[in-house]
Symmetry: C2
Subunit: 231 residues, 2 copies
DNA sequence: AGGTTAATTAACCTGATGGATAATTGATGT
DNA sequence: ACATCAATTATCCATCAGGTTAATTAACCT
C-alpha cells in the first residue's frame, strides 16, 4: 500500500487532513452510526453528531449512504453480519446433547450481554416494525447458521433419546433468544418495577445458568412426558 | 393542506364547542397519546397529531401535562396501572401447582398479545433507559401484585413437592415475561430472519402452550418421582 | 506536468415541531 | 347579572436536523 504520504511541513500529526479512502471512511461512518443509532434510536440519532464524531462533514454521510434510513439499514446489515460470523464458531455438533444445549444457551446469553448495542438496535428495528430488515435484500438473504446447527443437534439428541422428539428448532431458538435478549433489552423497566438487579456480574452469572437450566429442562427427554396429543 | 377551518355553519353536531371537562379532556389526551407513543415512539409521536386526533388545541396538552416527557410518563403510569389491575384478578392461590403455572403463563401471554401497544411502550421506555419510570414516584411505588401471588403459589407448590425448592419467584417472572413479551416485541425481526410466522392465530396458539410447557418443565419437581398425571 | 475523477468541505435551505404568549369563552357562585 | 377563574383557542417563534447546491482538493492516469 501507499505510504502515508505525510508531507507535513511543521505539524507532525500522523492523522491530519483526512486521507481519501472510500472504504475506510464508509466503515468509520458505519461504526459510529451503529453506536449512535443504538444509543439514540432511528429518530434520536443525529447526522451532525455522527459526522462530528467521525471527523467528517455531514454531507459525506449522504454521499455514501443516501439517507438516514439507508444508513440505518446498512448498520443493521453490519450488525447482523457480525452475529452471523460469531454463530459459525459455535460447533454444537461435537457435543453431547446436554452440553450442546448449555453451550448454545451460554453462547447466546454471552453474546447479547457483550453486545447490548446490538440488542438495542434490534429493539429499535422492531419498534419500526422491521421495515428496514424487510427492505434489505441482503438482510433477507442472510441466513443465520444457528438454526441449522440447532436442527442437527436436536436430531442427534432425539436419536439418542436425550431430547424429546416434540422439540422444534424454531421454538427452541425463539425461547432462548427471548430469555437472552430480555436480560438486556428490558433491564430498565424490570429493575425499576421489581428493584431486582439484573446488571451486576453476580446477577448475570445467576441468570446465565438459570437460562441454560430452563432450556435443558425444556428439551430433555423424560420417562414420562406430560405432553398430550389432545387438540 | 389545512382547509379544515370553520366552514360548518348549519351542521351542529352534539359534540360541538367542546364541553369544559378537565378530567375527561385529560383522559382523552392520555388515551390518544398512549396510542401515538406506542405507534411512533417518544420522539416520533407528534403533539400536533395528538391534539388533532383528540379534537383539541395543542396548547391543551401542555396545559395539562407540562411537556412531552411528562405526558409520556403519565401514559406509562396509566398503562402499568391497567396491567396491575388485570393482575389482581389472577387468583393463582386456588389452583393446583401445575394448573396455576399454566394459568399464569397463559394469562401473561394473552395479556401481551392483547396489548401490543403496551409491549411497544415498554420497549420504547427501555430504549430510553427507563428514565421516565425511574423519575415517576407513582410508578416506583406501584407494586405489581403478580410477584406476591407467584411467591405464595410457589411456596404452596414446594410444600406439596410439586415444585422444586430452588425456583425463585423473580427468576420465574423474568422467564415468563421474556417469553411472552418476545412474541410481540421481536415479532418483526424474528419473522424476517427465519421466515417463521409468529402472528397467525395458529402460531400464537402453539406458542402459548409451548411457553406454558417451558415454564412448567422448569419449575416442576423431579419428574421421576412426582409424575402422577396420566391424563 | 496536467487534466480528470472522486472524495471532501463549506454554506445554505426548509419543513417540522416542541413549546410559549396572549386573548377568549364557558361555567359557576354570589 | 356580573365578576371570577379555569378551560380552551389562535398565533407565533426559535431551533433543530435532514438533505442539497456548489465549490474545493487530493489522488490517479496517462
Amino acid at each position: 500500500m501507499k505510504a502515508e504520504s505525510v508531507r507535513k511541513p511543521a505539524n507532525e500529526e500522523p492523522t491530519k487532513a483526512r486521507r481519501r479512502d472510500r472504504e475506510k471512511t464508509k466503515a468509520e461512518i458505519l461504526q459510529i452510526a451503529f453506536e449512535e443509532f443504538a444509543e439514540s434510536g432511528l429518530l434520536g440519532a443525529n447526522a451532525d453528531a455522527i459526522a462530528a464524531r467521525a471527523g467528517i462533514t455531514k454531507r459525506l454521510i449522504f454521499y455514501y449512504f443516501n439517507s438516514k434510513e439507508e444508513l440505518f439499514t446498512a448498520v443493521l446489515e453490519m450488525a447482523y453480519g457480525k452475529m452471523r460470523l460469531a454463530e459459525e464458531d459455535l460447533h454444537l455438533e461435537t457435543l453431547e446433547p446436554e452440553a450442546a444445549i448449555r453451550r448454545l444457551a451460554e453462547f447466546t446469553f454471552d453474546f447479547h450481554q457483550a453486545n447490548p448495542e446490538f440488542v438495542r438496535l434490534v429493539a429499535i428495528e422492531n419498534i419500526h416494525r422491521g421495515r428496514h430488515i424487510n427492505s434489505s435484500e441482503k438482510l433477507k438473504q442472510m441466513t443465520r447458521p444457528v438454526i441449522g446447527q440447532i436442527e442437527r443437534m436436536l436430531a442427534k439428541g432425539k436419536g439418542l433419546g436425550a431430547i424429546r422428539p416434540e422439540v422444534d428448532a424454531y421454538e427452541l431458538h425463539a425461547t432462548l433468544n427471548a430469555l437472552s435478549i430480555f436480560s438486556v433489552a428490558n433491564r430498565h423497566t424490570f429493575e425499576a418495577q421489581f428493584r431486582w438487579d439484573m446488571s451486576s456480574p453476580e446477577a448475570k452469572a445467576r441468570r446465565r445458568v438459570e437460562i441454560a437450566e430452563v432450556l435443558w429442562r425444556y428439551v430433555r427427554g423424560s420417562p414420562r412426558s406430560s405432553i398430550t396429543d389432545e387438540e
